[in-house]
Structures are given as structure tokens and as C-alpha cells.
Symmetry: C2
């Protein structure tokens, strides 16, 4: 009988080669330039324009992976990766995700694979406990959590649920006809503006509130703007507070913003995409003071919690509002469990219908590390960042732009913007380390983001020496 | 030095155990009940309420996987799974996805990992060639493809891009203020209604066009409705044609609908989520006759093309319209390559910002099977479905509801709706096979969807015997 599939035994052989390939990759990762040193089009041009008519051997694919793909990779898992934000992973997470790929089940509703839904409810409740989130966000209360792909999608979900709350589900029916207004700060992640556009609110109805000298939203300016909008007949409906902005890790005051939201009847979404992970440690929880005032809260275990992309967790205080907004029930998905009301159908908690079994990787990670293992590594990252900030402060050639709340250090070489960019680009082009920039108060600022799984003191130290040396040479 | 991470050598050992675990799973898969036989809450109740303070051993996790999780799994990869739609996978895909988890790179823009973007452009161009899609959908022309998570998100992307085309990017700025109207058929996937709601258009502005006796949209009714809406001052802007509806695999006439769209200036989105895969075989391409009239086209390799979830491919004829709709460029993501205009930044092609390296699994699948291997297995599934339909037709106790265009057979036991549901539920509860129902013309219809990777003639035959026997016993 002709059959092009691999047998389980062939998979045993090839799959194990691949496990070795990944282990080798991590053993050798420091030898690769962190930032890929390729030109646009170079990788594509090295591969055949047309697909193969006949199947090829696994070894050929593996060879091309080594020779043609890896050189076009920017190594996010390198311990010398300090760019953007961490998107770290870990071997337990890779294994949990492998089980998910292997089982290949759909968790769109409870009935399509009960364990996928129930393990998800379990691990997001575990996380709520580990982070000491308010009771209302737990599945045993009025709310609950759900795994989404990204914080962008969670933001969109929050905006749409807020829109429907404000319009009593009218905009789902008639379209956006009300004069809704939303609020972010000038430091809020760009995905919020994108969400406001996608949801049909319009970017002109997004108010960008000014920040203070620590780049946190000014609550009194927010309050004033809301008053102003109301007096113009507009309907304030949504505020996003950020716990740890992308640019500079700024911490909005959730309590002050939350109190305004409660009075003004606005949905408060807390975007804690990166810094949410720090809530595993009690000593950092003051940053989320006031979180009991939030309607939704999201963070990305796929950023700093050793869990591979994609894995964002989105909690709501009132799941009924969410489900009323997103629920659809075509005949071919009707089933007894759904109709009983005893189960969660996570399809109704977000944009997508299809769902991968993503709870597995979180389950593997939490069980492997335990709460104490995760706390240990998060604390270490924060400590390394504080140490780096200390070196910057002591140095005469550099300025610390602001005291880092957690694991992101914003600094400048003494000199103009061009000089700062030159130093950064020169290091990135060396392949020895990779970090990126932002703009704060109109000025270029360099960012050292510390959160890769295998980053140790020596990597931070080497990079600091490299930065000093490069700045010195280019001065 | 304290460290909770696994070493590469520990990963070698445990990862290989997991490869064996997956191989064993596939060897034993026919022994599990296809539909999980658990009650709501049962799986969650079998696991600890609180997370572990200290880390646990890998073997403990693996034991719980066997003893507590697998029993709550509905086995989508079982060769006796005939429910809903296929969501098949294959060993090459599992391995490609494993590399993606292992590398853990972010492909949100070209600069964050050039190979992730360029391999994606390559494989979606390969697919366009393999399916003989019009030139305009290729990256070398005005359009291009992008990997999305699900057809639902692709539909939302299409709706929003169409909205911005119709309003000249005004609704992105001012919100949805125009009287836009969209069109689907009564058989269109529910994600389209969800998209219309999410995008702020409103479900009352979605016209549900009647279908003919083969459940395909009636173009003349569409035309009439558009005329009617225009004469009422409304703005028709979007039509979704389906190639293979979820309920019954009905085929809308893309040509007739497309010609109306061209005249009426509506965006035509073609949803080919499942049946798109059949376009790999020239003999089925008549179903997409007229596709050159489409503005966007999407299908899910994660349904029928041996590629594990999530993997939807979304093509547009004019990428500029897409990018103008979704583009955002915060300072911290600015880079030379983006500014040169020489690269694709796929972040601007959809909802999300973060992106997994999903092209790898498609690349592994296409290279392993080659075009001819994929064609072989698709043809076999279609042939099995046609064979099953033949048995139904010959039988006196069953009715074939309609001639199956491809791999989905809609049939009924002679008897009322309750009897049909009883037969289906009884088989599903036996765990020997799993199939689901829909409603067509107000009547319950049973669906036999044939597309699992390891489904052979014997599985279809056994299930047919089981259906006959069960119907006979319950009659």
C-alpha cells in the first residue's frame, strides 16, 4: 500500500535527531552573531523558487536548516540578546509545546477536548494565585482567565468587550454609532491604537494622555480630559493602564487611574505584558496596587516566564460581559455540555475559534520550576539589571536615564543622538550582543533589557565592557 | 551556582522520552475512545488546586499526562475521527513546529529575524504555485500571502481591510460612521458574523443571502440585495464567498459572485478554510473558477494539509491596501530594513504584533511529502468519501443528502431527527468512532468528514458497519 507518511518508528529516529539538534543549538548559541548579519532577500534567494515535486529526505531538510536558515536567525534565545523585550523559553516549555503539537487537539469548546479547556482553567487559576491577583479574576468567582496568542489580541478583546458594555451590546448589532472615547498614555503600547482602529472606534477618538517625569500616565490629566470629553457629549468608555511600558518599563498608577475609571464608568484594562511576570515575587507587587479596580488584566508568559511564544494570559473580572460580546453558536458546534452551562467554551472568550492546547506548556513550566524556581530566576534578572544600572551611574561616559523599576535599563552615552545610534549599531553589527533603542522626551535612549533564560552575570558584564570600549573608540 | 534550568543534556534525555511518548501515542491511538468519555469538571478535579511550591520531576509530569490528561482528550488524530472538520497533522509538521519552539524567534518584522519572514514569503509563494493561484497573489506581483492563526482572524483581517478601502482609511481615523453593508450566505462560517461585529460594522448590516438546493449562495439574490441596499443609500463593501462550507462543503460560484463584486466595487474574500487544500490537485480546481476576481483568499493547512494547528494562509491581491490598514511603527521597532522598503514586515499584515516562526512546519511538510505525496493523500481522502457516499446511496436504511463535492458526506438515517441524533450519540459514546451533525433545510443531517492523516479504507468501512448496526438496533 503506497503511503507517504512517516511511521512512528521513523519519527522516533528523526525526532530524536531533532532533539539533539536543539540541544546542540543551545550549546553553541553564543558562537552565532546575535543579530542576523544578512541582507534583505538573501535567505530567500538561497532557497529554490519552486516546491519539490517529489519528497525529500529529512537529512536534506536538516542540512538546509543548518546551512541556510540559521544564518538568517536573530537569536532571541542567546544570553547576549538584550534587545526589545525578552521572549524567552525553556526546555520544559519546548517539551510541553511538543506534546501539544503531537496530540493535535482542538480546544475551541469544552466538548472538542475537555482536558484542553480544564487544564487551561486550572493553570490560569494557578497563575492568578501565584501572582496574588484579586479573587474576582478566578474561575471560581465571576471572572476567569484565558490563554490568548498575544497582548495585542488581548487588548483588542478588551476594547471590544468595553465597547459592548458601553453600548449595551448595541454596537455589535448596529455598528459603532456612539461617540465613544478611549484613553491611553503617550507610552502605551502601539497595539492599543491598532485595537481602537480595528474595533471601529477610530484613532481620533483615542486620547493620548501626557506622562510624568517617570513616563507614567498623569491621572489628573486623564480626569480632566474625561471631563472635557463628557462636556462635549462624548462617551468615555475605556482606559488602558500599563504596568511596565515597552519603551522604558514605566509603571502607571493603577489605583489612581482605576479610581477615575470606577467613577466615570470606564473599562480599565491593565497591560502588564512583560512586567506581569514579576508579580510572582511579593516584593514587586506594589506595582499592581489597585489592580482590584481593573476589568481586565493581561500578561505574557511568553515574554519573561520561560514559556515559548505564543502564550498571553488575559483575565476578566466579569466573564459574562466577555461571553455576551464574543459568543456565536452555529448548529454544527451545538452539544450537551455547552447547553448545560456547566463548562467554559473558550471560543467565546476571544477573537479566534480554533484553539491549540497551549495550557500544556504552562503546566510543564510551572511544574518543572515550581513557584520558587520561577521567583529565583526573575529576581536574578532584576538584580542583574540593577547591577548594570549601577555601573552606568558610576561611569562618567554614560547617563542613566531613569532608575529601572525592574529588568529594563534605559541609558545614554554622553554625546548626541547620532553618537548613541552609532555605538549601538556598531555593537549590533559585531554580533557579540544585541540591544535596541527608543525615544524618550524626543531623545534617543538605549535600552538594555535583561530577561533571557540563560543570561548570567558574565554576559551582562561582557556587554557592559563592549559598550564602554565601543563608545570610547567611536568618541 | 544555583540554577533551576534543565541543561542541554537533560533536555536530550527527557526530550527523547517525549518523542517516544508521542510515537507510542500514535501506535496506540485506536485503543482510546475517540470522543473523551468524561464529565464536566472531572479532569480539573483530578489535579491539584494549587501550583507546586517546589519543582517536580519530569517523570511525574509524564505520568500525570498519561493518567490524568489523555483520558480527557478527544483524539482528533485518531483515524476514526470523522467529526467537525479534519485538523490533521503529520510527523514532519510536528518536527517543524518543534524547531520553531526550540529556536524561539520573533518574526514580527523582518529585522527581528530575517529568515522567519523570508521563509514565510517563500512557502506561501510555493503554495500559490502548488494551488495555481492567480499571479496577483504572489509576492513578486502586487499581493502576497501571510500565515495567520485561523481563518477567523483572516476573515476579520479581510473585513477590516475592506472597510478601510470603502472609507478611504476614514474609519480607521474617525470610527465606523458610514452605512456599510456586507454579504454572506446562510451557510457562511459563523466567524464572518463575528468579524462584522468585532469590526464595528454591526450584525444588522450583514445580509444573509439565500442558498440554492446545493447550499451555494444565489448570485442573483446577492445582486438584487446589493441593488436594494444601494437604493436605500447604503454602501455595499464586502462579500464572502465560500469554497467548501463547514456544514455541507457547499461551493459558492466564485466567478458569478466575483463578477458582481467587480461591478459593485465590493471586496471579495474567498474562505476556503478546509477545501483550499484540494486545490493542490488540478482535477478539483474547477471549484475555484473565478478566483482571479477575489481580493483575498484564505485556507488552513492546519485542517487538511498535514500541518498542525495553527496555520492559516491568507493571500491578498494588493498588499498595499492591507499594510495601509494595519501598519503601526513605534520608535522602538524602527530599523533600516523597514525604512528601506525592501522587506516585508508581516506585523503590518494582520491583527497581532508578535509572530511565531510558523513557516518552518509548512516547509517541513512540503519538503517531506513533495507535491505528489500531498496530492496522493488528498485524493485518497476524497476517494474514501465518495466510496462512503456510494454505500449510503445503495443502502435502503439511509439517504444521501447531497452528492459530496470532496471529502465530506452529508447523510441521514431514514427516520426523524431524534432517531438520527440517537444513532450518532450512541456511536460517539461507544468511543469507536466520532462524527457530528448539522442542520440543513431545518433537518438534522449527519456528517462524515474524512481527512485524518492515518484514516484508511478499513476505518471508514468499520465505521459504516457500526453506523448500520447501530441504526438497526435502535430502529
Amino acid at each position: 500500500m503506497i503511503n507517504y507518511h512517516l511511521t512512528p518508528d521513523q519519527f522516533r529516529e528523526q525526532g530524536k535527531k531533532l532533539i539533539d539538534w536543539i540541544a546542540d543549538y543551545y550549546e553553541n548559541i553564543e558562537q552565532f552573531p546575535v543579530l542576523a548579519q544578512v541582507k534583505p532577500g538573501e535567505i530567500k534567494a538561497s532557497l529554490p523558487d519552486s516546491p519539490p515535486q517529489k519528497g525529500e529526505s529529512f537529512d536534506t531538510v536538516l542540512r538546509d536548516l543548518d546551512e541556510k536558515i540559521v544564518r538568517g536567525i536573530t537569536h532571541w534565545q542567546s544570553p547576549n540578546f538584550f534587545a526589545y523585550f525578552p521572549s524567552n523559553t525553556s526546555f520544559p516549555s519546548i517539551m510541553g509545546d511538543l506534546v501539544s503539537s503531537g496530540l493535535g487537539v482542538q480546544g475551541m469548546i469544552w466538548a472538542t477536548s475537555p482536558a484542553a479547556t480544564e487544564l487551561e482553567t486550572l493553570v490560569v487559576d494557578w497563575l492568578a494565585e501565584m501572582m496574588d491577583l484579586p479573587e474576582k479574576f478566578r474561575s471560581s468567582s465571576t471572572g476567569g482567565g484565558v490563554i490568548q496568542d498575544t497582548a495585542s489580541t488581548s487588548a483588542l478583546t478588551a476594547v471590544i468587550a468595553a465597547r459592548e458594555r458601553a453600548t449595551h451590546l448595541e454596537s455589535n448589532k448596529k455598528g459603532v454609532r456612539q461617540n465613544l472615547v478611549a484613553y491611553v498614555s503617550s507610552q502605551t503600547h502601539s497595539s492599543l491604537e491598532k485595537a481602537i482602529k480595528m474595533a471601529g472606534i477610530g484613532s481620533e477618538n483615542l486620547r493620548v494622555i501626557e506622562v510624568d517625569d517617570r513616563f507614567a500616565m498623569q491621572p489628573e490629566v486623564l480626569k480632566k480630559q474625561i471631563m472635557n470629553d463628557k462636556s462635549n457629549g462624548l462617551i468615555p468608555f475605556f482606559v488602558c493602564a500599563t504596568m511596565g511600558t515597552t519603551s522604558s518599563n514605566a509603571m502607571d498608577s493603577i489605583r489612581e487611574i482605576g479610581e477615575i475609571c470606577r467613577i466615570e464608568n470606564c473599562w480599565l484594562h491593565v497591560d502588564a505584558a512583560m512586567s506581569g511576570t514579576a508579580m510572582l515575587c511579593p516584593e514587586y507587587r506594589h506595582f499592581m496596587d489597585g489592580v482590584e479596580l481593573a476589568d481586565s488584566f493581561s500578561f505574557n508568559p511568553h515574554k519573561w516566564m520561560f514559556t515559548n511564544f505564543d502564550c498571553d494570559v488575559f483575565w476578566v473580572a466579569d466573564r459574562k460581559e466577555l461571553i455576551d460580546t464574543f459568543s456565536i453558536l452555529p448548529e454544527y458546534l451545538r452539544n450537551k455540555a455547552t447547553e448545560s452551562g456547566e463548562v467554559f467554551d473558550y471560543r467565546d472568550w476571544h477573537v479566534q475559534l480554533g484553539r491549540r492546547f497551549r495550557a500544556l506548556k504552562l503546566w510543564f513550566v510551572i511544574r518543572h520550576y515550581g513557584v520558587e524556581g520561577l521567583q529565583f530566576h526573575i529576581r536574578k534578572h532584576v538584580q542583574l539589571a540593577q547591577q548594570f544600572a549601577g555601573w552606568i551611574e558610576e561611569s562618567e561616559a554614560f547617563d542613566l536615564v531613569l532608575k529601572p523599576p525592574l529588568n529594563l535599563v534605559c541609558f545614554r552615552c554622553k554625546g548626541d543622538d547620532d553618537f548613541n545610534m552609532k555605538v549601538m549599531n556598531s555593537i549590533n553589527e559585531s554580533g557579540k550582543a544585541f540591544f535596541t533603542h527608543t525615544k524618550l522626551n524626543g531623545q534617543i535612549v538605549l535600552r538594555m533589557s535583561i530577561g533571557q533564560t540563560h543570561t548570567e552575570e558574565r554576559h551582562v558584564k561582557q556587554t557592559w565592557e563592549l559598550i564602554q570600549q565601543t563608545a570610547d573608540e567611536l568618541a
